[in-house]
């Protein structure tokens, strides 16, 4: 906390809104272990760091047909401390807008790079898709150095009527670093929002993804792969609100915890009173690969409407011993058989990404973590 205070103080002349945000942040206080929503996140690791530099400038690429500009945010409301902190550290946000009826073919890559030692970045993005528009965005959080840094990231998404957004977040920070992010998305009528979260880096990686289905027949798909080794803590909290009739949502989260790694998933689906005809599916499947690893998964359904179809399933298990024996009985080593089955489990989520080049990159990245024990040779 003292370190975060010091970081706020390094700003030469924080804007009035930033000072307000800082006051709000102080009022809200940092989440503690006793806070239900943060009890597994091991935030004490973040709190014990000393931050030396605040990095505010991020430059974003230009993209044909997309309007990208930096704006002052102005007044805002939140009851979430890290959002208040993000506003306190950064007065400006990037506004990324796709006008009505515009289909952007080229995926937009946003590299949220941190540079320097013990730095903190607080990027804020607003992605707005006009009606009938289409966009693919990839947000990548990483650093160009091996030293500790933190990203406190806030993203707002608005998907207009009949618009389609595929939104990937890649969190592959180095193992000393921290990512605390939030995505708040609002989906309009017939809108389609697909979010992929690859939470594989950092000492602590946490994302809160909140989706409001606000237009009839809106669709949200949330996919996540969390792969924790060493002593990583990787945590995703999702919350989908069905506010109107006949919206659909589908969630697929796969967790892999090896060594002393910890994977956390908490997924809430809230179906409001008038949201009849809701179709919501949620699946959290997890592989526990070592006796010292930990998985905490908690699906929650809260339904206030009649005539809805909601399902959820959460499993925690080991690799299938029948499948292991089968592969080994064909001459494949135990180590390779284990790697193959684990990769297949990860691929089930990676394969949901529609961008070929990204899918291949992700597959390679996950393969690399097995030291290429199972590099495809066909």
């Amino acid at each position: 906390m003292n370190s975060l205070r010091a970081i706020f103080a390094v700003q030469v002349a924080p804007a009035a809104e930033q000072r307000k945000a800082w006051e709000l942040f102080n009022q809200l206080g940092l989440p503690a272990l006793r806070d239900e929503h943060w009890k597994y996140t091991q935030l004490h690791r973040l709190y014990s760091q000393s931050f030396a530099a605040l990095q505010t400038t991020q430059s974003l690429p230009a993209a044909d047909g997309v309007v990208i500009r930096q704006v002052n945010t102005g007044a805002f409301k939140t009851d979430r401390p890290f959002i208040a902190l993000n506003h306190a550290l950064n007065a400006q946000e990037w506004l990324i807008e796709v006008p009505d009826n515009m289909e952007i073919r080229q995926p937009l890559w946003l590299n949220m790079m941190a540079g320097g030692t013990s730095s903190i970045i607080a990027p804020r993005l607003t992605i707005k898709l006009g009606r009938n528009s289409k966009l693919t965005v990839i947000e990548r959080y990483r650093s160009n150095a091996e030293s500790m840094y933190a990203s406190i990231a806030v993203t707002h998404v608005t998907v207009g009527e009949n618009a389609r957004l595929e939104h990937c977040r890649l969190q592959d920070a180095n193992r000393a670093s921290f990512h605390i992010g939030s995505i708040d998305a609002t989906i309009g009528q017939h809108g389609r929002y697909v979010n992929h979260y690859f939470n594989t880096g950092g000492s602590v990686g946490r994302l809160d993804v909140n989706v409001q289905l606000q237009g009839a027949e809106a669709y949200a798909e949330l996919n996540g792969l969390q792969f924790a080794t060493g002593n990583q803590v990787l945590d995703t909290h999702s919350r989908i609100e069905h506010c109107v009739p006949r919206a659909r949502s589908s969630e697929t989260y796969h967790g892999i915890a090896d060594e002393r790694g910890q994977v956390v998933f908490n997924g809430k689906v809230l179906v409001h009173k008038h949201a009849i005809g809701t179709d919501a599916q949620q699946s959290s499947r997890n592989l526990l690969l070592s006796p010292k690893a930990e998985i905490d998964t908690k699906p929650e359904l809260e339904i206030y409407a009649d005539d809805v179809k909601c399902s959820h399933g959460a499993t925690v298990g080991q690799l299938d011993s029948n499948a292991l024996f089968y592969l080994r009985s064909r001459g494949i080593s135990e180590q390779e058989a284990r790697a193959l089955l684990t990769l297949a489990f990860a691929d089930a989520v990676i394969n949901k990404v529609s961008l070929d080049s990204l899918r291949e990159d992700l597959t390679q990245q996950v393969h690399a973590r097995f030291g290429n024990k199972a590099e495809p040779s066909v």
């Binding site: 592969l327 064909r330 001459g331 494949i332 193959l340």
Partner: protein, 251 residues
């Protein structure tokens, strides 16, 4: 090639095999028959190195070496192949990947170079023709969404590609219709050679109409109660197993 002496095997505290002795030589085809629960599948699983089976007494030697010292993959690399009664579905691992990884692991073990992509695909496509399988099976997950018959054909395809020295078939005929049975039998017969031995575990005689065994053994209550030639299988078809188990109990 394979010598089993006085083999006793437990699953948990329960003794399933109670003293089995069997000699299998290169070039021979053996059929191990018997009623349900007699220990037939246990025998094939123990030979392939499955966990959960404890050998309490006796020995298994393969080409003069102690088979029980080896892991399942070492056995496979030394030339043992088990076609499973219930092949496992493994979504996300390609059939073609499994075949290539297995074949190259075995070749490497024998000091042979890996096959290049062209040689490998030529070999696999040739064997797929033999098993009357569509090439689209290659890119699918291992046994993923396969029918019972397709799974069994896939087992024999793997066997045809991996070219084992000792092939073990566990209830390969179960769940097959007559056309699929003919294809599977054809695949197995194509592998008969003077250097290779085949041990078939089966409940019914009908597989033996297509794959003629040199030796037939009846396993009951964890012991081989009778051995003979192919005429024994025909007798079993007529008389069932009761007369043998009764004879065994009386003895």
């Amino acid at each position: 090639m394979l010598t089993i002496k006085d083999l006793h095997v437990n699953v948990g505290d329960k003794e399933i095999l109670k003293g089995i002795s069997l000699q299998v030589n290169a070039g021979e085809v053996h059929a191990v028959m018997g009623p349900n629960g007699s220990g037939k599948s246990t025998l094939s699983q123990v030979l392939a190195g499955r966990d959960g089976y404890t050998v309490t007494k006796g020995s298994i030697t393969y080409n003069g070496k102690n088979l029980l010292d080896w892991s399942p993959e070492e056995r496979a690399r030394e030339g043992i192949f088990l076609a499973l009664q219930y092949p496992v579905e493994i979504p996300g691992v390609n059939n073609v990947y499994l075949l290539k990884a297995g074949l190259n692991a075995i070749r490497k073990h024998r000091g042979l170079p890996e096959l290049d992509a062209f040689e490998f695909l030529t070999l696999v496509k040739d064997k797929m023709k033999l098993m009357q399988m569509d090439e689209s099976f290659l890119s699918r997950g291992v046994n993923e969404g396969f029918s019972g018959g397709e799974k069994k054909r896939n087992e024999i395809l793997q066997m045809a590609v991996l070219q084992p020295q000792l092939a073990l078939l566990d209830e390969t005929d179960s769940g097959l219709d007559i056309d699929a049975l003919r294809i599977v039998a054809n695949g197995v017969n194509s592998l008969r050679s003077k250097d290779r031995a085949i041990v078939m575990v089966t409940h019914y005689q009908r597989l033996l109409d297509y794959i003629t065994p040199d030796h037939v053994h009846v396993l009951a209550g964890g012991k081989i109660v009778k051995s003979g030639d192919k005429s024994l299988a025909l007798e079993l078809e007529k008389r069932g197993y009761d007369w043998l188990t009764a004879e065994h109990v009386a003895a």
